[in-house]
Symmetry: C2
Subunit: 225 residues, 2 copies
């Protein structure tokens, strides 16, 4: 591993992406953080993203405004659709159409501009909510696309999309993060967080997080409402 | 072909995308137009896109604001880089990192929300400027990605990205468009168009367009500065 190899890290301000940033830094990548303001209900996550980016002293942190509200189709981007407060069958209404595809496309642009060939995204296929764009086969297809899509790819760059959490349970993610001194009190995962970033405790995201701390037998530092 | 099958059509207001919209309509698709305000220098293109969308009476026209200027890296999004006025070697500085990847990711989101499985994009691999994201192998990779990325894909939708112009010369595109009654006077292709949409006549995009009309032996209706 070359020290100071550049990487783009998608940082939402939640538990998973913060752990991912800690992992990328532990691997000696020079990290460029990328966050999105996409009309999500949990805007407190973005404030958390800024705190996290600052704490990890990233080289640059861009917050890109992407108006997914104009496209809608999800409980996270359309106020007419309620966020469920108990488990639901199938892919839940919090699924945002093509969200990770949009996120990764910006990450790819940012990577090409700064000369990075590594992108980190904290997706997870274990304790996830059934989102199709959190699966390993999706990430593989994206890497192939990235190499074909870009000038860098044509010129020989081979992009790697790192998903260090993809096969980990929430409890293992938390254990890994704690070992890397991640301060989870800074992070906000709740779909319905209030303005101060306090979590509802009952949405899908809160339930997975809560259960993760319980299983890991680590005190949950989350600020609840 | 079922009448009124829905399609997303990327409409920039230029010659190629307008021809593509005319082709999609001739194939009886119910068209949803999608344009991007990405801090491009040729903002007159967007005014043209609105005129074109209106003329073709599309079902919906969304203009998504995407701040590629924040990412930069191209003569079209960074004012510090000049648009070349004569041919250059290799992939030109007008290449916008991951642009079509970003565009298609929004098109995919829009398609999923309206229930379309068809996306039309007017890219061209013949008289193109050497952009990697205008190649057939790139489009094939994107289709594979789209099926893996989405809830619709998981549920059995197979997305098709139509590139009706990909193998055509600019002259043939123009002939096809004229046969479909496209009014090219409405369209703006110039990278350096003025506020009234008048073309410079010397940038890559103007040169390809001009030569296309000349080769097709069709009077060029472009408004030049």
């Amino acid at each position: 591993m070359t020290a100071f190899k550049k990487a783009i890290v998608l940082v939402s301000g939640g538990l998973d992406s913060t752990t991912t940033l800690a992992i990328a830094q532990a691997l000696d990548f020079e990290c460029y953080a990328l966050s999105f303001d996409y009309g999500q209900r949990h805007i407190a996550e973005l404030q958390a993203a800024s705190l996290v980016a600052e704490k990890y002293n990233v080289k640059d942190h861009k917050i890109i405004n992407i108006d997914l509200g104009q496209i809608g189709g999800s409980a996270l981007t359309d106020n007419a659709i309620d966020v469920p407060k108990s488990p639901t069958a199938g892919i839940p209404v919090t699924y945002v159409p093509a969200r990770n595809t949009i996120f990764l496309s910006y990450a790819l642009a940012f990577a090409e501009v700064v000369g990075a060939s590594d992108i980190f995204i904290g997706i997870n296929a274990v304790d996830y909510s059934g989102y199709p764009d959190c699966r390993p086969e999706y990430i593989k297809a994206y890497e192939q696309l990235a190499n074909l899509a870009t000038k860098a790819g044509v010129e020989g760059t081979s992009f790697t999309i790192h998903t260090p959490l993809i096969a980990l349970s929430k409890a293992t993610i938390i254990e890994k993060g704690v070992a890397l001194n991640v301060d989870y009190a800074l992070t906000v995962s709740c779909y319905l967080a209030d303005k101060k970033g306090r979590a509802c405790g009952v949405c899908d995201s809160c339930r997975f997080r809560k259960a993760g701390f319980a299983t890991a037998n680590i005190a949950d530092p989350t600020h609840y409402q």
